[in-house]
């Protein structure tokens, strides 16, 4: 437990105001419970997700740079926390590109000037994921001390997806040995949920792809990829797949339903955001954590495990 990240700028992003609302609610509820301050970035815009870069990568960089420049200029906070992998990835990406590619700085400067706001300069703001935030600000010991309702008996497969760890060059702080996050075997979610009492199953597909970018454009591919994730989690004995990205989470939910309705293939794992699971351990109610806002209905399972 340290003072670091006690107050962070909060960039929820579009998905957390829509399908990922349960993630938004649970992140805020957990912060409140733990005495951490989240100050939402005022008047933020979409980061461009995985789509805008295909039209033009520098426009995607501008979109993220605008958000970072608001944090740097309008908030006296030097850290922005994004719970969504896509947002987190894009903020990290512009940080990298602005430092490494003169063209990016040039385009960001030009567009920011035209749009009438400050331009972002490399190093002004540190971008972190919700996992970095809780791991650093509270840590495993902090969680252990505060557990009211242990997740004991709940078998969890942790799924980190693509954008949290790849590509390596935009995450210079990862793979630094010791307790630093690993891009091949990420463990922050494992650490936190294990501290909350859960049984973490050995899941080989932690960073496999769910096909989120083509969830509608190429549904059959996404369904195949998601089925692979779900069936492997099942084979590993997991009751729950813990998620830390709204695109992955809704992708798993959508294609679990699609596999059932279109191909008649049923799978059992329930999807829960890792903040929802932590919140349960901290003694927060299902409703406060937005668990009823998930498509995947974990109510019975949680009751059965004495968690609701």
């Amino acid at each position: 437990m340290s003072d670091k990240y006690k107050t962070v700028a909060y960039y929820p992003g579009c998905a957390l105001e829509g399908t990922g609302h349960g993630y938004n609610r649970s992140t805020k509820a957990v912060a409140r419970k733990l005495g951490l301050n989240l100050v939402e970035v005022p008047n933020w815009n979409c980061c461009g997700a995985m789509e805008v870069k295909n039209i033009d990568p520098e426009i995607q960089n501008y979109l993220s740079a605008r958000n970072l420049s608001i944090v740097a200029e309008k908030m006296s906070i030097d850290t922005v926390m994004a719970p969504c992998n896509g947002c987190y990835h894009n903020l990290k990406k512009v940080e990298h590109d602005i430092a490494e590619k003169p063209k990016t700085q040039e385009v960001v400067d030009r567009l920011s000037q035209k749009a009438g706001h400050a331009s972002y300069q490399a190093g002004e703001v540190e971008t972190i994921h919700a996992l970095d935030w809780l791991k650093e600000a509270i840590g495993e010991d902090g969680i252990r001390e505060r557990v009211k309702n242990s997740l004991k008996g709940l078998k969890i497969a942790n799924y980190y997806g693509c954008m949290y760890t790849r590509p390596r060059n935009i995450f210079p702080e990862k793979d630094q040995g010791g307790d630093s996050e690993s891009t091949y075997q990420p463990h922050y979610m494992d650490d936190l949920l294990r501290a909350a009492g859960a049984e973490i199953v050995d899941y080989p597909l932690k960073t496999a792809c769910c096909g989120g970018a083509h969830t509608l454009a190429d549904s059959d591919t996404s369904t195949k990829l998601v089925l692979n994730l779900l069936q492997t989690a099942e084979a590993c004995g997991a009751d729950v797949i813990a998620t830390e990205c709204p695109t992955c989470h809704s992708g798993l939910e959508m294609h679990q339903v699609r596999a059932e309705t279109e191909f008649g293939i049923k799978t059992s794992p329930k999807m829960l955001y890792f903040t929802q699971l932590l919140g349960l351990a901290l003694g927060l109610s299902r409703r406060k954590l937005g668990i009823h806002e998930n498509v995947s209905d974990a109510k019975e399972l949680l009751k059965q495990k004495g968690l609701a």
């Binding site: 579009c14 998905a15 105001e17 829509g18 399908t19 609302h21 008047n43 933020w44 815009n45 979409c46 461009g48 997700a49 995985m50 789509e51 805008v52 870069k53 295909n54 039209i55 033009d56 990568p57 520098e58 426009i59 501008y62 979109l63 605008r66 030009r110 567009l111 035209k114 749009a115 009438g116 693509c162 954008m163 760890t165 790849r166 590509p167 390596r168 060059n169 496999a208 792809c209 096909g211 989120g212 970018a213 083509h214 509608l216 454009a217 190429d218 591919t221 195949k224 990829l225 939910e253 959508m254 339903v257 699609r258 309705t261 279109e262 009823h292 806002e293 498509v295 209905d297 109510k299």
Partner: protein, 248 residues
């Protein structure tokens, strides 16, 4: 001699005679299998430059064909014909016709970034895949792929309002690609959600579809982005020697 690596050669490049005798020797069937003589004279010598000029393609020249990208590729594991290493080779050699045999696969990259993560030469193969798909579309070899339609819908909404609203994206995408919105699985998902969603939350979601979420004072950003995108589109078309004014 039978050709042991036959599976690596396209069937149209192989000939075999069911009944053939040469100088009194029976070479019927696989004994007469020949690989067709292959002469390439229609290179597109500008192909690498063309792809490098498009968004994502700029580092294609760095590739040294180690195949780390194909080795880790998510889509390749589902369909072995999806082969980034091979396509980069074809593009750099200028084998346009060969690449076009796979033109309907190019857009299927799911952007998992495994290739970019593994690439020892920082080619950013993921970006190259997007550039190749754009290249095929701009040159008129393919129609607008579902992925490109989704990107366009998404980007237009952000440019217009600074944010996206997922319901509007879904409706816009299905309309653009001429698919019915009433997909049975989407209906089933909405039903399941409705079953345990409180009425208030449902109302809030419906309101979001009526009143679009937007970033305040976005107009100047919109104008700056629109101007830049128009500039880029002209540059992209110029790089491919296409009529600059035609537009998509």
């Amino acid at each position: 001699m039978p050709i042991h690596e036959k599976s690596l050669i396209r069937p149209e490049d192989l000939t075999e005679h069911e009944k053939l005798e040469i100088d009194g020797v029976d070479v019927s069937g696989h004994w007469s299998t020949f690989i067709e003589t292959r002469v390439v004279s229609d290179y597109n010598e500008r192909m690498e430059e063309e792809i490098a000029a498009l968004p994502g393609g700029e580092y294609i020249h760095r590739c040294f064909q180690c195949s780390s990208c194909t080795n880790v590729c998510t889509v390749n594991s589902l369909n072995p014909d999806f082969n980034p290493r091979y396509w980069i080779y074809l593009a750099r050699m200028g084998f346009e016709k060969e690449l076009l045999r796979d033109k309907e696969l190019l857009w299927q990259c799911v952007s998992c970034h495994k290739c970019t993560h593994a690439c020892p030469r920082d080619v950013v193969p993921e970006g190259v895949m997007k550039a190749m798909a754009t290249w095929a579309e701009l040159k008129g070899h393919t129609g607008v792929s579902p992925s490109a339609a989704f990107d366009a819908e998404f980007t237009e909404q952000i440019v217009a309002t600074g944010k996206i609203e997922e319901g509007r994206i879904i409706r816009g995408f299905f309309k653009r690609t001429g698919q019915p919105l009433r997909q049975p699985w989407l209906l089933e998902m909405s039903l399941r959600l409705a079953r345990h969603l409180p009425i208030l939350m449902g109302l809030k979601m419906m309101l979001a579809t009526l009143f679009r979420p937007r970033t305040r004072d976005w107009g100047k950003s919109e104008a700056a982005i629109t101007e830049y995108l128009a500039e880029r589109e002209t540059a992209n078309r110029r790089a491919l020697n296409l009529d600059e004014t035609a537009g998509r």
